[in-house]
Assembly symmetry: C2
DNA sequence: CGGTTCGTTGAGGCCCATCAATCTATGTGG
DNA sequence: CCACATAGATTGATGGGCCTCAACGAACCG
């Protein structure tokens, strides 16, 4: 969010933001199928967006990492149809949805940033749908790990990162059972595609993992790919 | 699109729109993984958004029906990572992406409509991901039919509608093979959940189909659910 | 140090994919 | 108006990827 706004827009956003608030791990701070009157920014920790089926299964439909919005949808929709909860203890900053909508109406830069965020989520979800529908368990998992690595900024061989998701979370993200995720991860470790130690994941050869996953980072539109950011208008202030 | 804009915004949009253009069935007018410098509105006909895997499989990630945008993403992203093609012969109206972005920067109502559209696509994609990842073939198909019925405005028992998608399209939308789709549709017809005649689908008992599909229309945020549309600002002009 | 969450292992089975035809519509040109 | 081409729908046999059920091991934590 912040990196998409110039200084003035950011200051205006801070004016309407509530003070940071801690949320314990696992507490559903956006309730599935209930009204949500605030949009939340994850300041610290990881959160999952998920939907639950009537028969009790869960599908994770997105991750929110530090600096990202948990529920943009709430800006325009009174009711979101997914839940959000932190995986780890988290800190969030909240904004009343109508205030955010009003700010977006006043400030084109804010409106643009919101649209940008929504469209990146869109592209990400398209990819998830394609992989869940059309690719093997191994490829889905490899891709999820590539996506996470890219989002936490790991981009070279031997890079490692903290990965607070359990195998059950991974399963819910890629549409598998935890048992199968476990077996596939074992195979990936045996192949040397990844190494794990506790909650830390290491990628010895990122090109190989990406080849296995058929991963290309473009859809994430990360800062640094500013080639794709139209120069028409405001750029980041700093 | 039109129904989300007031008269003035709509007029402004028309100012920058190119004249309507026919596109034959099956012609990919937005190329997967290539630059797209225009946003297209489907005036007539149905189009599919899809992604292709390296090994040649296809996953449909969205439908664009008359009045809808084919590729909102192109407003902000130079390159989209999905392709779009009409299923039937279609007519489209195009707008240069930078002109649309500029219009959105000038007119909050346009920006809001674009965001609205992006967020509805988001909610729809979340649902698709959940069903592909977590639900049975029968439920996925039933839900897709419910969604289509809702989007074409069929809402009562015995309603019927033209459905130009082939069984292969349906398979690509729900992540199955055409053969399996065929078998599941046969079962649904035998159960009396649907009836088909050529390209026409009839739903004898929509409540039963929706129960089978676990369908709730809320996520589509259709006009008529205006309860969810914040009154903060512009409403439709007519 | 007992409870709880997470990871791991194994056996068995089902849902849906794969491969391979055949059948049916629709349309086209001679 | 019919022979033919082509796309789409249908059917059957077989197999595999992943699920289900059911434990057990390991790590964490108060």
């Amino acid at each position: 969010m912040a990196s998409l706004l110039n200084r003035a827009d950011l200051a205006a956003l801070e004016t309407i933001s509530l003070p940071p608030r801690p949320v314990p791990a696992g507490v559903e701070f956006v309730r599935e199928n209930e009204a949500a009157d605030r949009v939340h920014i994850i300041r610290d920790g990881w959160a999952i967006r998920y939907k639950t089926t009537r028969d009790g299964n869960r599908q994770i439909v997105g991750l929110a990492l530090p600096g990202e919005l948990a529920n943009v949808d709430s800006m325009l929709f009174e009711r979101v149809d997914f839940g959000v909860r932190p995986v780890t203890a988290a800190t969030i900053v909240s904004v009343a949805r109508l205030k955010l909508a009003a700010l977006a109406a006043e400030r084109p830069g804010v409106a643009r940033a919101i649209t940008w965020i929504a469209l990146v989520e869109n592209a990400t979800l398209c990819g998830w749908a394609m992989r869940i529908g059309r690719q093997s368990a191994a490829r889905r998992l490899a891709h999820l790990l590539c996506e996470i690595a890219a989002r936490v900024g790991v981009d070279g061989d031997g890079g490692s990162f903290e990965m607070p998701l359990t195998q059950t979370h991974l399963a819910d993200a890629v549409g598998l059972t935890p048992m199968h995720v476990n077996r596939v991860l074992q195979a990936m470790r045996a192949d040397g595609l990844i190494a794990t130690a506790g909650r830390k994941v290491t990628v010895p050869d990122i090109a190989r993992l990406r080849a296995e996953a058929d991963f290309e980072a473009g859809y994430l539109h990360r800062p640094g790919d500013r080639a794709t950011y139209p120069t028409l208008e405001v750029a980041a202030g700093d």
